[in-house]
Amino acid sequence: MSFLKLSHLEKSFGASHVVRNFNLEVERGEFISLLGPSGCGKTTVLRMVAGFEKPDVGSISIAGKDVTALGVRRRDIGMVFQAYALFPNLTVAQNVGFGLKVQGTARSEISARVQEMLALIGLPDKADRYPYQLSGGQQQRVALARALAPRPKVLLLDEPLSALDAKIRVSLRNEIREIQKALGITTIFVTHDQEEALSLSDRVVVMHKGVADQIGTPFEVYNAPATRFVAGFVGTLNTLEAEVIDAATGTVALGAQRLVLDRPLPPGPVTLGLRPEMLHMEGGPAYLTGRVMASDFLGSVVRVRVDVAGQILALDQFNSTRRAPPRVGEELRFGLNPSDVLVIAPAG
């Protein structure tokens, strides 16, 4: 039986239907990311789990107990907010111990737990500091310690890295994952950053217009997107409009060029998806040819834009001192593996 279960959740604000028939089962200790653009309903789902919003329809259970009607205070959740939300009038130690104090825990126990938490987040010497004396990254680590101190059943992270600069974001996300694994706490992480979601999660829920478009491991979501939206939102994807000319072998026509996908396809127009990193200069089992429109040197990667039968494809190759990037206007023959080509379902 799943540890956290969201069944048929629906939520509207006025005329706006924000969450539609949302279902999710999370195992104990699992790290799940809700990924999607602004307004997709991911934060609303998180807030319904926290108890800040009441679902119009559906139920939420934690550890087998229906908590749908329970208030925030009784749900036994820990939450970390985008804006840190540390209590400015309390020291770091008081912030971390706040939840325990509210519970009526003995002072000595609070003190020990606070020390343990501060050691866990690597800030054992900052106990007496006030939030304004800490950097953004430190504040968010304290917020994490504060959420974890009362030993909640579920940890909810509402875009906790969004307010931080890029370098700290990467180090803190790794730290969050390590702490989560060490404590084995069931975690829901809301983000609009696909890289964060893919790198941190056991499973990713890609949300679009209030619906979970796909629930799967990062590998599945990236390599086998279930919908056109997922394919476009997660990672960079080239889309190519083609025509199936042989349904049995999956041969498609791109202008005058032919590509055999070795799988049966329904005849007629089809949309193909190709990740830039799946296209190789070195060649492959199949080939396409196009004219180089742009060649952008991005440091470790060179991104080349190629015109294939009137459609632009981005192609990534690792930077190499032995090979100069292709020149604009040059005719480029590049290889691909037909099994890497995604056939994207029509937009529903």
């Binding site: 926290a50 800040f52 205070r73 820990g78 939450m79 907010f81 939300a85 209590f87 009038n89 509210v102």
Partner: protein
Amino acid sequence: MTRAAAWAILILGAIYFILPLMGMIEFSLSMRRGEYSLDAYRIVLADPQFRRTFGYSVMMAIATIVVGMLLVVPTAYWVQLKLPRLRPLIEFMTLLPLVIPAIVVVFGYIRLYNTSSWLPLTGSLTGTNILLMCGYIMLGLPYMYRAVDTGLRAVDVATLTEAAQSLGAGWGTILWRLILPNVLVAVLSGAFVTFAIVMGEFTMAALLNRPAFGPYLQLMGANRAYEPFALATIAFAITWACIGAMQLFTRFSRQGRPT
């Protein structure tokens, strides 16, 4: 505008404000013929009625501040958190005391709470004191509410509340341990203004027949020459001390904080 013209305007303005004050202070020191003395102050401070009325007004001011704070802080907090749409209405209501004369309010009170009414507050001293305190709260409301509201706007009230709730805190804990400490400077600013208002208030105290400092000032003014000026100077000093304390608290609270 030239620098000289700006200075001239500044000096003119300063003279406009300072000259009457200086005249008042000078006159309060002129009780003894031909020399300056503190006689008027000595007489006033030795007057048992002064001590009684001053003490009464101080107590009333403290009660007004405490009860006003208990009324205003949760209200402003709730409006900001749950009823932001009502903010214009609440602001309008808090401004009403500025446009409704105190005499109208106090007559309304007397009519509503007289001895033959359903709540005969004017029938006892305690009741009348409570009524006067309510009147004072109303007079201080525009300042108290604004100060607290401004203080609350500087804090992310909604997120702090949610963070506290997720940690198991109830409304009482949130208000007392998190919200109030974070708007304390604003509350104190409102409190000092309220204190100054209460110390000088005449109409309500006189019509409710309570021994406050305002009616005592009026009484002295009607019967003595130098002492009223000494009293006026004292009252002025209280107001300035309140404003000074507000500045001090604001500056003190900002120390060490990032700007």
